[in-house]
């Protein structure tokens, strides 16, 4: 139940820090979430959402760095098989 899903902020609204909210899109589904804990996040940012709250802004630079590191490893070796779509542990 600690699952946090990445979504993209479409709009920010609300009055005052505790009331900061946003429209966030998750694979085509929109939901209003509290942005009280990511006051620096703005339109277009990706956030990790748990139980209706954005808990962290996704660090796009770090995400890219990790993927490149993984790809370098994969290019050095092989790899077979396939994994399906959907949420792990959802």
């Amino acid at each position: 139940m600690c699952l946090a899903i990445p979504g993209r902020i479409l709009e920010v609204h609300g009055e005052g820090p505790l009331d900061l909210r946003g429209e966030v899109e998750f694979s085509g589904v929109r939901r209003e979430v509290s942005l009280a804990y990511v006051p620096e996040a703005g339109k277009g940012d990706w956030v990790l959402v748990h139980a209706g709250f954005a808990l962290q802004t996704v660090d796009e630079v770090e995400a890219q760095r990790t993927l490149e590191e993984l790809k370098r490893l994969a290019d050095a070796g092989g790899g077979l098989g396939a994994f399906d779509e959907g949420e792990p542990g959802a």
Partner: protein
């Protein structure tokens, strides 16, 4: 979906498994703490991609599974009381209390409402001033900021018919307790990434140094999990008891200070009983004295607690990584997700449910492929 699909690329996943195999020289036992990771490991068959020297044992990281029976009974009692609505995350509604679960209490006329967010419960209270709305606050450090904010907002808005039945649990104390238990086999931990999103990973530094175990912050997608295993094996092979972050797109060393400071404002640390495992000092959160008005445990009086009927369910051992679900004599025969005997068969993150759903009754079926 961005930030998840690319971490399921089979080529990346298999090359990580190959790299783990390449660097492993002897047997290592690694515990993934979080139930979400257990579910992904079993579902994608990640354990079966690893060399035989590496054993993944499943940890106690399912807050629904470890919520004490007495709290489930209190939630049921509240739901059955006139004028009270008990709001809960869906996972909690089929967890057995001493006599029944929330779902059967609801079927018999109890007022149970499943919500997606504690904010929905607060809104319900705001719209229905004649009702007492109680939110069953279950969850780790990840969830505590969400319930803390509802209390702070209720106070700011003068909403006085809202309260929490608090069952929050904290991860590091139970990791230490497992390491100190006599039968401990765990040599390294995959730390729960989303807990660390809030707390940061500096909280594991004392655990790693005082117990000499590496701790690697790990995400939830297949490549994230194997990257966590790879970093852990590297540290084990090198004899380094350090904390590393293999989930850097979501986790910083200091976590989210906005979220954690709200938790500290509203809650304080307390001892907590973990279902089937035992009571650990400092392993839970309770509302601070200033917020006593929002504490359902103080606002309502409850009946005598019933004792739990003795049962053959070994979920306590499963939550400590001492046994795997197929080792339970009731697994898949007497106990199934349709008629669960223990919380680890109820919750989608419980190890018993994960094995049953993805490995079948024998618990051994191999890797899921599409």
């Amino acid at each position: 979906m961005k930030y998840s699909r690319e971490y399921r690329d089979p080529k990346l996943v298999h090359s990580l498994a190959d790299e783990i195999r390449r660097i492993t020289t002897r047997p290592w036992t690694i515990m993934e703490v979080c139930g979400g990771q257990t579910h992904a490991i079993v579902r994608f068959g990640l354990d079966q991609l690893l060399p035989k020297e590496i054993e993944l044992v499943h940890g106690p990281g399912c807050p629904v599974c470890v919520t004490d029976v007495s709290l489930v009974d209190q939630a049921i009692e509240l739901a059955e009381r006139d004028g009270v609505v008990l709001c809960t995350f869906g996972d909690m509604s089929r967890v057995p209390g001493s006599e029944k679960d929330l779902l059967s209490a609801k079927a018999a006329g109890g007022n149970v409402k499943t919500v997606y967010s504690p904010m929905d419960a607060l809104q319900l209270a705001n719209e229905n001033p004649d009702l007492e709305v109680v939110f069953f606050a279950v969850g780790f450090e990840t969830t505590a900021p969400t319930t803390a904010l509802t209390v702070e907002r209720a106070r700011a808005a003068g909403i006085d018919n809202y309260s929490l039945l608090v069952a929050h649990v904290l991860v590091p104390p139970v990791m230490e307790a497992l390491l100190e238990s006599p039968g401990n086999r765990v040599q390294g931990f995959l730390a729960a990434g989303h807990v660390c999103t809030v707390t940061g990973y500096r909280i594991y530094e004392p655990v790693a140094s005082s117990h000499g175990v590496p701790v690697v912050v790990t995400g939830f997608e297949p490549a994230d999990i194997l990257k966590g295993v790879l970093e852990t094996v590297r540290l084990l092979e090198d004899g380094r008891a350090e904390v590393q972050n293999a989930y850097s797109r979501a986790v910083k060393r200091d976590g989210n200070p906005h979220a954690w400071s709200m938790v500290e404002r509203v809650f304080e640390v307390c001892d907590r009983s973990w279902r089937g495992i035992g009571t650990f000092p400092g392993s839970g959160l309770k509302l601070r004295g200033e917020y006593a008005a929002y504490d359902a445990g103080q606002r309502f009086t409850f009946h005598e607690q019933h004792d739990l009927k003795p049962s053959e369910c070994i979920s306590g051992l499963i939550l400590q990584g001492a046994k795997k679900p197929p080792e339970c004599p009731l697994f898949g025969t007497v106990c199934t997700p349709e008629s669960p005997l223990g919380a680890t068969m109820v919750s989608s993150e419980g190890a018993c449910a994960a094995y049953y759903l993805h490995r079948g009754v024998e618990g051994t079926q191999s890797v899921e492929r599409s």
